[in-house]
């Protein structure tokens, strides 16, 4: 059984698994956090504690996509609206019941040395296992982008704290490495990234007011949820690939499944934090996260989290570092194709005009002038005469007129490999798994196939590309 426990993160933090609740409404109260631990969460970052904020109602807005709710969640929520004493009293209580689950106190204070000293001390006295300095929420304003003040405040807190200090970074900084390096210079033991992305998620077309609409006006929000994952992964990679900024890292941003979590770990994260997914579906989302991670580690042959941590970092290079002689072309699996034509239209309108419906008329390779473009193809269908097959014979004829594949031959597009640039747009739009594959060609052709359990050893054996 793979071991998914966390050891000595940021120097001192242990825990049963790497899945933490991120600071937010999911970690607002002691009662919630205890239920979360019972559900399987391996730690929690308390909702940011500081001088109690006031909140608006409503305060959230969702970006829905194709009928799916909350692809992204934008929030104008501020830090905890409850008194510092109440939060810390509950923190102490949870620690009494759950001594082995790390609780990180997320803190925010005025940019005054004494204020930070005081709140850090109080959180540590309450039993927090670490501190997370929130310079980065929408409420933190310019601080999130200011390396000098980041370094200064981190150093103040380090003067006091004996427990690990994490600095939570904002994706809104122009150069994340500069801010991360500043936190490192200030003595941070670790980093958390990312906080929410500045956003105006949507404008209501009836009221013309941005959402959430608070009595007739909206304001800038912090964007989170699945939509921000690519931004977060990029920032994680930026931080971890620079020796001046790399620190033990808790990855955050759009994590909804164990797959997302593994990606953050492959780029160097030791723990991961989740807010939106738990807001959407509740604490139970952690069950599949933990199981999925374990099962994946088992099939891939990883024994501990450290074995897989950062393995993909060596696979990221600048564009110049890529092998420009490597070439792939698209290949359509005729058995799997359902005939939706999406590869064809996307190739014609968004790529290189080299997917054609010419299997019946006879394949023709070559430049665009030789082929019927989308308007001609559609015109032909729309001026054809189609009738209802009312008799049994007509129905039987329609059913048998298929060719060798499940989809009628005329409806299975064909890739002209002589013109295909291998951009892979078609493979992305094809709705059928593994129907379009990108096949290496030329002298660089090599088998893409990876054995099921040899991934770990293969990655280890692969020489790092310079």
């Amino acid at each position: 059984m793979p071991d998914i426990r966390v050891h000595q993160f940021a120097g001192k933090i242990d825990g049963p698994n790497p899945f933490w609740l991120a600071s937010g409404p999911v970690s607002n109260k002691g009662e919630q956090i205890m239920r979360a631990f019972d559900a399987g969460w391996g730690g929690a970052v308390w909702k940011t504690i500081g001088d109690p904020a006031t909140n608006t109602s409503p305060r959230y807005s969702s970006v829905d996509w194709n009928g799916h709710r909350m692809m992204g969640l934008s929030s104008i929520e501020r830090i905890s609206d409850r008194p510092i004493e109440e939060n810390l009293r509950e923190l102490a209580e949870v620690k009494r019941y759950y001594p082995y689950h790390p609780i990180i106190a997320s803190l925010m204070a005025e940019s005054v040395r004494e204020s930070w000293h005081e709140i850090a001390q109080r959180a540590e006295d309450a039993g927090a296992d670490g501190l997370e300095l929130n310079f980065s929420g929408s409420q933190a304003g310019s601080l999130s982008q200011d390396p000098e003040r980041t370094e200064m405040i981190t150093a103040w807190v380090k003067e006091k704290a004996r427990i690990p200090v994490l600095v939570k970074l904002s994706p809104n900084a122009t150069n994340i490495r500069v801010v991360a390096a500043a936190a490192r210079r200030g003595g941070a033991d670790g980093l958390s990234a990312i906080n929410t992305v500045n956003s105006i998620p949507r404008i209501d077309l009836d009221t013309l007011v941005p959402e959430p609409n608070v009595g007739g006006a909206g304001t800038y929000g912090g964007f989170a949820g699945p939509a921000v994952k690519p931004i977060a992964l990029n920032i994680v990679q930026q931080i971890m690939s620079d020796p001046a900024s790399a620190l033990p890292l808790s990855g955050i941003g759009g994590i909804s499944t164990w797959r997302d979590a593994v990606e953050f770990m492959l780029l160097g994260c030791t723990t991961v934090q989740v807010c939106t997914a738990a807001m959407h579906y509740g604490y139970r989302v952690v069950e599949d996260m933990a199981e999925g991670l374990e099962n994946w580690m088992r099939t891939k042959g990883f024994a501990t989290l450290e074995d897989l941590r950062g393995l993909s970092l060596q696979r990221v290079t600048g564009w110049e570092g890529l092998n420009r002689d490597y070439k792939v072309v698209a290949h359509i699996n005729e058995q799997k194709c359902i005939g939706c034509g999406l590869c064809q239209i996307s190739c014609w309108d968004g790529a290189n005009q080299c997917i054609h419906s010419d299997r019946v008329s006879g394949p023709v390779n070559g430049r665009i002038e030789l082929h019927d473009g989308p308007p001609t193809v559609e015109f032909r269908s729309r001026t054809s005469i189609a009738t209802t097959p009312v008799t049994r014979q007509e129905r039987a004829a329609a059913a048998s007129n298929h060719g060798p594949y499940p989809t009628p031959l005329a409806k299975i597009p064909r890739v002209d490999e002589t013109e295909c640039t291998g951009c892979n747009l078609c493979a992305l739009v094809c709705p059928v798994d593994e129907c379009i594959t990108m096949v290496p060609v030329g002298q660089n052709a090599r088998p893409e196939h990876r054995g099921q359990s040899s991934l770990a050893s293969e990655i280890a054996a692969e020489p790092q590309r310079s």
Binding site: L342, Q344, I345, P374, R382, A386, T388, V390, T391, T407
Partner: protein, 442 residues
């Protein structure tokens, strides 16, 4: 007022609850989002009127319902009745790529209805080119789907079109024939009314049956479009066929749809196994008949009705008697009907009665539904136009007959297909007429 609707009959509504009920707004969006938005979509190709299916579905998912409806109407002016009456299983939905994606096809018919219902609810009228902006006059004979589509298409482009219909109400079989649980008579009339408001002139209660009447129209109009449908139901030609209790299937359907026949009880035997037979049998059940038999001279695998219609009839409680043929109808002492039947076997495509297999079915009604005769009265007057097996011969691309001033479409030219085929025929003929007219005036 030629297209007034008849009042909705609540009892009829209750008995004939819709088999394809409307989608709720959210269900429609969820279903619309399932559509892959195929390029050169097979559903569009399979639709005889080539409605841009992914186009109208996409517009539903974004909330552009007006655009969605106009997209539909652009290709199919009877988009509303087609959404309800089309055998989608063998048309658009049958062609949907989702079948090969191991999932249910997109519910195109119901989405189409959703868009059309919301458009009708706005009461918006369709835009047409100024009347008379095309200098061409067309008389459409028959007021069914083929003529409605032809006249509407002409009118949209500014030509002048009139519809001459024998019945009191327009709509043809959409009004008098299609099963009420699919398409309500009132819905058909609402559609005709929309077309009337576009500027099409309706002359109802007026049959064109003589050569003189045709000649008169020829002198008044540039072109004639024949959308007269098929003729009356075929007779069984057996003794006793003319007595009370033996109902002509089309008349039976028309009378329940228009509220003249409200109830049926006892045992009903429908003869035949096409879609009309199924409709009549289902209607008999819904009108209250306790036992409904469908009697067919061939077997289950030879029946011409669509598979889903057969399944539907079984679901309605219709019982099937295969390989049985009626040869006489008598009356019992208690006044019921006695249908003499015999088992038949098919030998070399000929049906042979099996000795000793005679059976008498005691029943209250017999409804022969063995097909419509191809010969409409008018067609017999068309001496100058080529017919084949009673069907008007046309150029499939244009609907033009061998008399260049005569066009034809719908059941009278395709031998009897579906509403959507009639619409496609009418539209094609209208476009061909416009093209000829344009060339003539250019």
């Amino acid at each position: 007022m030629s297209t007034t609707s008849i009042p909705d009959d609540l009892l009829l509504r209750e008995r004939f609850t819709e088999i394809r009920p409307p989608l709720s707004p959210q269900a429609a969006v969820i279903e619309a989002n399932r559509c892959l938005n195929c390029f050169d979509a097979p559903c569009t190709a399979a639709c005889p009127t080539h409605i841009d299916v992914p186009g109208f579905i996409k517009r539903i998912s974004t909330g552009n319902l007006r655009g969605s409806a106009l997209r539909i109407l652009d290709a199919n002016i009877l988009g509303s009745s087609c959404a309800k009456a089309c055998p989608v299983e063998v048309l658009c939905e049958g062609a949907c790529v989702m079948h090969r994606y191991n999932t249910e096809p997109i519910q195109i018919g119901r989405l189409q209805r959703y868009a059309m219902d919301s458009f009708q609810a706005t009461g918006e009228e369709l835009l047409t080119a100024p009347r008379g902006s095309r200098n061409v006059q067309v008389a459409c004979i028959g007021g069914g789907p083929a003529s409605l589509a032809c006249a509407a298409e002409l009118c949209r482009h500014g030509a002048h079109a009139i519809i001459i219909e024998r019945n009191e109400l327009p709509g043809g079989l959409n009004t008098y024939g299609v099963a009420e649980y699919k398409l309500r008579t009132s819905d058909s009339l609402r559609e005709a009314e929309m077309i009337r408001r576009m500027g099409v002139e309706f002359r109802t209660g007026a049959a064109i049956e003589t050569a003189e009447a045709l000649e008169e129209l020829e002198s008044e109009f540039d072109f004639l479009f024949l959308g007269v449908g098929l003729g009356a139901m075929q007779r069984m030609n057996i003794p006793g066929e003319d007595q009370k209790g033996v109902l002509n299937a089309l008349e039976f359907i028309a009378s329940y749809k228009t509220g003249r026949l409200k109830e049926l009880s006892g045992t009903v035997v429908v003869v035949g196994a096409g879609n009309t037979a199924i409709d009549a049998a289902n209607a008999a059940r819904r009108l209250g008949a306790e036992t409904v038999y469908l009697l067919y001279r061939r077997g289950e695998r030879e029946m011409t009705a669509f598979d889903f219609e057969y399944e539907h009839a079984k679901h309605e409680g219709v019982q099937f008697l295969w390989r049985r043929q009626p040869y006489r109808i008598r009356t019992s002492e208690r006044g019921r009907l006695l249908l003499d039947t015999v088992q038949v076997n098919e030998v070399d495509r000929l049906l042979q009665p099996v000795d000793g297999s005679e059976q008498v079915i005691e029943c209250d009604y017999v409804i022969p539904a063995i097909g419509q005769s191809p010969f409409a009265q008018l067609v017999q007057e068309l001496r100058r136009i080529e017919l084949r097996n009673g069907v008007i011969v046309v150029d499939p691309e244009t609907g033009q007959t061998d008399n260049p001033r005569y066009f034809a479409g719908g059941d009278c030219a395709n031998g009897g297909k579906e509403v959507v085929d009639a619409v496609a025929d009418g539209k094609r003929a209208a476009r061909a007429i416009l093209k000829i007219a344009e060339a003539a005036y250019a």
